[in-house]
Structure formats: structure tokens, C-alpha cells
């Protein structure tokens, strides 16, 4: 598994932010909210969720919209939107450096930035990407080169309590048996990711305690 690193509260103007990296892929997520919402988007019984993903170069195109939709679907299930009616929660993700793992880095960065902002959630969530090589081995968090050689790439976003699947994204061909094997491998790897979240937040609150 590649090395995970993160820095919380990276941006002073955002309510919560996290700079997250898995291996050589780095993403920066920032959360603002729950806050004021335009009349057009106002919902009477819940918060309006807006997720935007910007690539490091060029315009946002269809690939970025696809990533946004996976992240929106995940975040919608997890944030307690009904506690904040007629407000908006804005999640902005900026790709800083990419080595193939954009989706999982962005999702993890989004989770940590929501925790940093203190937005109420049902559970934490973590994304793990794995790929199936032609020789039927499963590689967790492969590099871009390894992904190119693989038969299929699958990303699962799992929740922090029971490791249930919140969303999944897959490219390539996976039969049922391989799909389940990938899922199991990702669920085992996700436990390490959740431990990493815990360490990152302990570090943040430990520093706060030291100052006070």
C-alpha cells in the first residue's frame, strides 16, 4: 500500500480543509458550510450540497464531472443534511498532482476536510483503489504505470463503521468472483486508512490542546 500523508487546516479562508496524498497523487479539499445558499438552490428541508472538482491544468471536462458525481453521491449519503435546512455545504477539490489515484485521494481529502470543518456526518468514509493485473493478482493503490497494465481498476468508498460500500467506480471487466475479491481486499486496506484518519485528527487536537 502506498504512503498516505495529510495536512489539516491548510487554508485559512475555508471552514475546513485537507491536503491529502496517496503515493504521488495529491489533492486539496476545502469545505465551506453549512452557510448561505442562493434562492435558486434553497431546499426547505435539507442542506444543498455542491461538490466541484478542478483539475490542475485545463478546463473542467466530462471526466471531472464524472468524478464530481461519485464524490457527491458519497457525501450526500454521509452528511446529516436534514439538520441544516435552507443552507448550502460547498466542497471544492483541487487536483494538485496526479499519478492515477485521483478519485480515492479526492474522496479521502473530502472526508478529512469535512471532519476538519466539523460538519455533522453519519460516519467517516474512505476510498480504496485496487487493480487486477493480467495474472489475476490484486494490487492495492497502484501507480499509474501499474494501472495501465491492468485488466480492471475498481475504487470502493467504504463507511467507517461497518465497512459497507457507499459508492463504487469501476473501469474494465471484472467477473463476479474477481469483484468480490477486490471488494474484500479494499475492505481490509480501508481499516488502515481509517487508522490513519484517527492519527491525523489526534494530531490536530493534540496540537490544539498544547496551545490552550
Amino acid at each position: 500500500m502506498s504512503k498516505h500523508a495529510c495536512e489539516l487546516n491548510f487554508l485559512s479562508r475555508s471552514d475546513g480543509s485537507a491536503l491529502y496524498s496517496i503515493g504521488n497523487t495529491v489533492a486539496l479539499a476545502s469545505v465551506n458550510g453549512p452557510g448561505e445558499v442562493k434562492k435558486f438552490n434553497r431546499l426547505y428541508n435539507r442542506a444543498y450540497l455542491e461538490v466541484s472538482y478542478s483539475p490542475s491544468t485545463g478546463q473542467s471536462m466530462i471526466g471531472e464531472r464524472a468524478l464530481e458525481s461519485v464524490i457527491t453521491r458519497t457525501v450526500e449519503q454521509v452528511i446529516l443534511v436534514h439538520l441544516h435546512p435552507r443552507t448550502a455545504v460547498n466542497v471544492t477539490i483541487q487536483e494538485m498532482q496526479s499519478d492515477g489515484l485521483e478519485l480515492s485521494t479526492s474522496v479521502n481529502a473530502a472526508c478529512l476536510s469535512l471532519l476538519d470543518a466539523g460538519v455533522q456526518m453519519k460516519s467517516t468514509f474512505a476510498a480504496v483503489t485496487c487493480c487486477l493485473t493480467p495474472s489475476s493478482t490484486i494490487l492495492i493503490e497502484p501507480t499509474a504505470a501499474e494501472m495501465k497494465e491492468s485488466v480492471a481498476v475498481a475504487t470502493f468508498v467504504l463507511d467507517g463503521q461497518a465497512l459497507n460500500v457507499l459508492s463504487a467506480h469501476q473501469e474494465g471487466c471484472l467477473n463476479a468472483e474477481n469483484f468480490n475479491a477486490c471488494l474484500k481486499a479494499c475492505q481490509t486496506a480501508a481499516k488502515d486508512v481509517f487508522n490513519f484518519y484517527r492519527q491525523a485528527l489526534e494530531k490536530k487536537y493534540h496540537t490544539c490542546n498544547e496551545i490552550s
Binding site: F10, L11, S12, R13, S14, S17, N24, V26, L28, S30, N32, G33, G35, E36, V37, S52, S54, S56, T57, G58, A88, N90, T92, Q94, M96, Q97, D99
Partner: protein, 256 residues
């Protein structure tokens, strides 16, 4: 989300602190905040931190046809992006006065100054040239975006290495990967440096502050405009562009 308005007591306290010779973050009037540059794994990626202001610049290049009016010159295009990440009241995609202003500053500093030798970007005259694209994204707006964006784009351009190219006899152009051949660095003849000052006129006295923070910027706009100064390091002359109506205290801080 709407911009949080600056309260009257914040405005008056900033101005009275300046009258007493102090700034809110304990800096001297002509002191710049700490600057740090972080370069990414890919050539041409740079993140600048100026105090709390953070800006990311990414340079990429591709081979295209040149402009018919200038067949030997490469092209540079600069674009600035502002999203709700920079400050909650920005909306991505909406054109904004601030984006236009930053774009104008960068185009003037980099394109119009001719600091980059565009002829060196030519591969085959009238057929292929390199087009460099600079994408500047503001990550956090804590004042003085002009300087930070300029610093980030210049650093990213100097960090950028373009892939080596061979032109065959029959005119075919082969672009080598970074592993096959050493990439070529970009050559900058001059380095544009941008310094921003905010002016406060209080009781007929004019105070000049360097590198204004976000609140200082908002208060000074209320009173008056910013001066942008641009120095060509090699040639040693300075160019002023200002819009101040009153007589100006001669700037003594400028480096010679």
C-alpha cells in the same frame, strides 16, 4: 455564499493602528510576509505561500501550429482560476472582476514584458511551435493575490522543462519522452517581480504599506487604490503604474 462585510470598528481600528505606526500582524510598514515555494513532482508545478495566501501554478506545453503573423514564435496562454476554495464568496465559472484584474497583471508582466524568449520555443518555422499554458489557481485568498500569482507563474515557468524534440529531414517532428532524452529548461531573459503597496490617507498624511493582508486591502480600497510596481531586474529600470490623486511621498524603499 455572500462576502462577510467588514465592520466599521474593524475599519477604524485598522486605520488608527496605521496612524500609530503599527499593523495588525505586527509587521513593519514595508515588511513582506514570509514566502515559501513548493515545487511538485512534475516539471512546471509550483505552489507559493505568501503569509496565508496560497497560489498554485501549473505549466504544460504542447506542440501546435504557430500564429500566421508570427511564424517563428511560440505561444503562451495564461489563465487564472478562482473557486470557493479561495474565499467562500467566489463562484467558480462566473467571471469576476478580480479574475480579470489578475489576468491583466499576469499578461502584462509575462507576455507584454517579453521576459520569455518565444523564439526559442519554435520547433519548425511556420509549422510547429510550443504553446505553453499557465494555469494559475488561487487556493487561499489572504491578501496580495497579484504578487502571489506573479511569483507562482514565474517560478512555475522557470521550473518547467519542455520535452526534447527532433525534426526529421522530411519535416516530421518527434517529441521524446522525459525518459528518452533530457528535457530542456525554459529560458527567461528577465524576471518580472511584482510588488504591491496599499495607500492609506489619514488626516492629510499618506501612509504606504507593503504586501497588504486581506483586511488591509479591503480598508485601503475604501479609501484608495493600490500601486503596482514592476521591476526588470537585468535592465535596472522601474515602471510605475499608479492612480493616486494626491501628491505622493517619494517611495524610499525601492531597491536600487
Amino acid at each position: 455564499m455572500k462576502e462577510v462585510p467588514l465592520s466599521t470598528c474593524e475599519k477604524t481600528s485598522i486605520v488608527s493602528a496605521i496612524r500609530a505606526g503599527q499593523r495588525y500582524d505586527n509587521r513593519e510598514f514595508l515588511e513582506v510576509r514570509d514566502i515559501s515555494l513548493n515545487f511538485g513532482k512534475d516539471y512546471g508545478s509550483c505552489t507559493v505561500t505568501l503569509g496565508q495566501t496560497r497560489v498554485l501554478a501549473q505549466v504544460t506545453g504542447e506542440v501546435v501550429e504557430p500564429r500566421p503573423s508570427r511564424p517563428n514564435e511560440g505561444k503562451i496562454s495564461i489563465s487564472v482560476h478562482l473557486s470557493p476554495m479561495a474565499a467562500p464568496h467566489f463562484e467558480s465559472g462566473r467571471s469576476n472582476d478580480l479574475v480579470d484584474e489578475l489576468q491583466q497583471i499576469l499578461e502584462r508582466n509575462i507576455k507584454e514584458s517579453r521576459c520569455l524568449d518565444l523564439e526559442s520555443l519554435c520547433v519548425l518555422a511556420e509549422e510547429s511551435v510550443w504553446q505553453l499554458r499557465v494555469d494559475v489557481t488561487v487556493l487561499n485568498h489572504a491578501g496580495n493575490l497579484g504578487d502571489a500569482c506573479n511569483l507562482a507563474s514565474v517560478a512555475a515557468l522557470r521550473h518547467f522543462h519542455r520535452p526534447d524534440v527532433t525534426v526529421e529531414e522530411d519535416g516530421r517532428v518527434t517529441i521524446h519522452t522525459l525518459e528518452e532524452r533530457e528535457p530542456i529548461p525554459t529560458f527567461m531573459k528577465k524576471v518580472p517581480v511584482c510588488l504591491t503597496y496599499a495607500f492609506f490617507v489619514v488626516d492629510d498624511k499618506c501612509y504606504m504599506l507593503m504586501d497588504p493582508s486581506e483586511k488591509e486591502e479591503r480598508v485601503s480600497n475604501y479609501f484608495y487604490e493600490l500601486v503596482k510596481l514592476w521591476i526588470k531586474v537585468k535592465f535596472g529600470f522601474m515602471r510605475f503604474g499608479w492612480l493616486l490623486r494626491q501628491t505622493l511621498v517619494p517611495p524610499t524603499c525601492l531597491p536600487s
